[in-house]
């Protein structure tokens, strides 16, 4: 576990970040910070650039311009696995479980992050009692203990989203990037998920989440960043966002999600 960062530097500092696909400016000069211990929501209409931004932060895309600092260290241009090992866990909007592995082995795969870069990975067996115990703990935490031995691709989609969180938690992350984890959940399931996320925050994990479900985001997040057409439209507390005229305009202009769901 990396040691504590300087209080003054934000945990995640995004400066003037851009990513263009040909002529399309998917992310266009975005700057914002995430501080330690926060739950920050990233919202915006379809095609606003939320997932692109996630992919930039986690290293799956290289920025066209701009910088990303994690705990004061530049991480733009680093490979995803290096960023993951620095303590940035993520989930995927379209779930990507290791389908043929058991649920527990999915979590164990995340626990190997520190050993993978070393040739020790070829010497040590992963099914050790300690590792299994820790994996079981994590599964207990996210409520998947009952499915530990099931093949991951046999789980229903809601549980697969939880599995993605569990797998990311196995990295002992400092920052957790959740990409629409509440999509397709029932009201009750979403409530449970929110409780889980708060619990994680209480245990010191900073959370940045992309959400389509506005009510979920508004209830859960302490701060919200609104993206529109690759740019930041607004930033503030849920209350500020809900009353921000630009945000209402953008959402009404698109689908009126704010009014219907918030």
């Amino acid at each position: 576990m990396p040691e504590k960062t300087n209080r003054n530097t934000p945990l995640l500092d995004i400066r003037n970040l851009s990513r263009h696909f040909g002529g399309l400016k998917a992310v266009d000069g975005v700057s914002f910070q995430v501080n330690e211990g926060e739950i920050v929501g990233l919202i915006g209409p379809n095609g606003a650039g939320k997932t692109t931004l996630f992919n930039l932060i986690s290293g799956f895309l290289k920025p066209t311009a701009g910088e990303i600092y994690f705990r004061g260290l530049p991480i733009h241009g680093k490979r995803p696995n290096a960023i993951a090992r620095l303590g940035v866990g993520r989930t995927f909007q379209i779930v990507k479980p290791f389908g043929e592995l058991s649920v527990r082995d999915n979590v164990l795969a995340g626990m190997g992050h520190n050993i993978y870069p070393s040739l020790q990975a070829f010497l040590h067996v992963y099914h050790t009692p300690t590792a299994i115990a820790r994996a079981n703990d994590i599964l207990e935490n996210v409520g998947l203990a009952a499915y530990a031995d099931a093949r991951a691709d046999t789980l229903p989609i809601g549980l697969q989203r939880r599995l993605e969180i569990a797998r990311a938690l196995a990295l002992s992350p400092i920052l957790l990037l959740l990409d629409e984890s509440a999509a397709g959940l029932t009201h009750q399931e979403a409530e449970d998920l929110a409780a889980l996320i708060r619990d994680l925050r209480d245990r010191g994990i900073t959370i940045l989440l992309v959400e389509h479900n506005m009510r979920f985001a508004m209830n859960l997040c302490e701060r919200i960043v609104v993206l529109n057409q690759g740019r930041i439209l607004a930033e503030g507390t849920p209350e500020e966002i809900q009353t921000n005229p630009a945000v209402i305009e953008a959402y009404l202009g698109h689908s009126g999600v704010v009014r219907r769901e918030a």
């Binding site: 290096a82 592995l101 795969a109 995340g110 990295l171």
Partner: protein, 290 residues
């Protein structure tokens, strides 16, 4: 007896080839139709070190494994750029290019191959017949052990992870390029050892011994037996390597039957004869559990 020993020796060598390909394709999900290239590199390395440089078998055997491993890692580079069917064809291409180099570069003996490769000796005593079979079987056991152990290590888990989903593997800290190269290197190294044994068993190597059809044969063994398992490639190799021999009573229909068996197998048991959930494997397990 010599006949059976000879068949068994080849079967052991091909079982190693199948197991090594299984690490690449079964574990790491990188489908390669160029495995015979690694087989050939190992055979040539060992043949040249003994015949031209005058080494004895044992250091040459080890060197062949190492050389093939390094070259294999290098030849795995295309896998960093191309995936799926494109990778299949790129590896196929590697096979052709490697054979062409053996054939066209006189340093490697050209079309005349390398002749006069001696059988290994232990304390001045030449290993032949059953003793060579024992050596091949020992190497097969070693390969089995490595395969089995690898699948239980963190590295094995990383390979499985990248097979299942490259993005997700990266997201949990697995360097996908690095582990792909590892997979190619390990797989090639083991195949290189098989190549060395083959060269010394046969006494001569020619470029055409390692042609594309051999790659197809090795892949067929892996899939036929049950990809991703340990038992599958071994059993696949033993059956398919020996099949043409014990089909001799059907005369010239050996290969028609061989092809037909492959087709029927894929139609009715696509997971392989002893793959997980195959009819035979389920039966065997039930029998053993009772």
């Amino acid at each position: 007896m010599g006949y059976l020993i000879s068949i068994a020796t080849f079967a052991c060598i091909w079982a190693v080839l199948a197991l090594s390909l299984n690490i690449l394709t079964g574990y790491a999900g990188q489908v390669s139709l160029g495995h015979a290239a690694f087989f050939g590199i190992g055979a040539y390395a060992s043949a040249m070190l003994t015949v031209k440089a005058g080494w004895s078998f044992w250091p040459a055997f080890v060197a062949a494994i190492l050389i093939t491993g390094v070259v294999g890692g290098f030849l795995g580079l295309p896998s960093l750029r191309v995936r799926h069917d494109f990778l299949v064809l790129a590896t196929m291409g590697i096979n052709f290019v490697v054979i062409a180099i053996f054939k066209y570069v006189s340093f490697f003996g050209g079309a005349l191959g390398i002749i006069g490769i001696k059988k290994p000796a232990l304390f001045g005593w030449t290993l032949r017949g059953p003793w060579f079979l024992a050596l091949a079987a020992l190497y097969l056991v070693l390969t089995l052990w490595i395969s089995a152990y690898l699948s239980r290590t963190w590295a094995g888990l990383a390979l499985t992870a990248l097979r299942e989903d490259e993005d997700a593997a990266e997201a949990v800290g697995v360097s996908v390029p690095r582990f792909k190269i590892y997979a190619f290197a390990i797989s090639a190294a083991l195949a290189g050892g098989a190549g060395s044994l083959y060269a010394h068993f046969l006494g001569s190597v020619f470029p055409d011994h390692f042609a594309f059809v051999e790659s197809i044969g090795i892949m067929s063994m892996v899939v036929f037996g049950g990809i991703g398992t340990l038992r599958g490639p071994v059993v696949g190799a033993f059956i398919l390597k020996a099949l043409p021999e014990y089909l001799r009573f059907v005369g010239d229909y050996r290969y028609a039957i061989y092809g037909g068996v492959l087709v029927l197998m894929m139609l009715f048991q696509p997971q392989g004869i002893l793959g997980d959930n195959s009819w035979l494997w389920n039966k065997i397990r039930r029998r053993i559990n009772d």
